[in-house]
């Protein structure tokens, strides 16, 4: 997708539909969609500095135990020391998105690679027994 916020609803729609198809309930689908939307918004704001002409590659893959989402961008690399650096549950408006991502997803990683910045998040699907 282009690094343009106008396309965020399109990706949200796809992720929500995918999560529902894979078996998550409505509440989990909303949370997963929010978390991945926050990751995209962070790339637009911090990697591309709100430039709309960048590209974000989004890959959603069904794994043996759930969902794995990879996002690749060619913007500025994230500063690892600032990710989740702020305290949650206070009245400061910034930095909420990364907390949502870590709260909702089971694993989250950020990596600068020769191909660009790589964000990978996974969520396990706990099947009813």
């Amino acid at each position: 997708m282009p690094s343009d916020p106008r396309y965020l609803p399109v990706v949200r729609g796809a992720i929500c539909a995918l999560s529902a198809t894979m078996g998550w309930d409505e509440s989990d689908c909303r949370a997963i969609t929010l978390a991945l939307d926050e990751a995209l918004a962070n790339i637009i704001r911090h990697a591309y500095h709100n430039r709309a002409d960048g590209v974000i590659e989004v890959e959603c893959r069904e794994t043996a135990d759930g969902l794995e989402v990879t996002m690749l961008d060619k913007g500025e690399a994230a500063d690892g020391t600032r990710i989740c650096a702020r305290a949650i549950a206070c009245d400061q408006p910034g930095g909420l998105g990364t907390h949502i991502i870590r709260d909702v997803m089971d694993t989250v990683s950020y990596q600068a690679t020769p191909a660009g910045n790589r964000f990978v998040a996974t969520k396990r699907l706990r099947k009813a027994t």
Binding site: R6, D91, G94
Partner: protein
């Protein structure tokens, strides 16, 4: 996202419809800050919001803090389960005055 504003006594009621995200939250921010200048009390109806992200929540926190600096009141009402879930995920629900209905929000002055 659609925004409409109406007056109810000394309260300005702002109603939002649609999605509040990185692309639309600047419009909401401008509207809320401007409305706060023109009334002692601002009530935001969130009932018709389909989606809100952390940039929307951050906007509401900014408006709340501005209202406190100006000795004005900023309240929320009509939170759907989807919107309430985002407030809980961001752990900020407790800093806002939240009401179920417009009548309750207007009666809280």
């Amino acid at each position: 996202m659609k925004i409409s504003i109406r007056d109810a006594g000394e309260t300005k009621i702002v109603e939002i419809e649609g999605d509040v995200d990185l692309g639309t939250s600047p419009d909401l921010r401008r509207t809320l800050f401007d409305s706060l200048l023109h009334a002692p009390r601002l009530a935001l109806n969130l009932a018709a919001i389909r989606y809100i992200d952390s940039s929307g929540i951050a906007t509401l926190i900014e408006v709340l803090k501005d209202s406190q600096r100006r000795n004005k009141q900023f309240v929320l009402f009509g939170l759907s389960p989807a919107v309430r879930q985002v407030f809980h995920l961001t752990h900020v629900i407790s800093i806002f005055q939240v009401f179920q209905t417009e009548e309750e929000a207007l009666g809280s002055a």
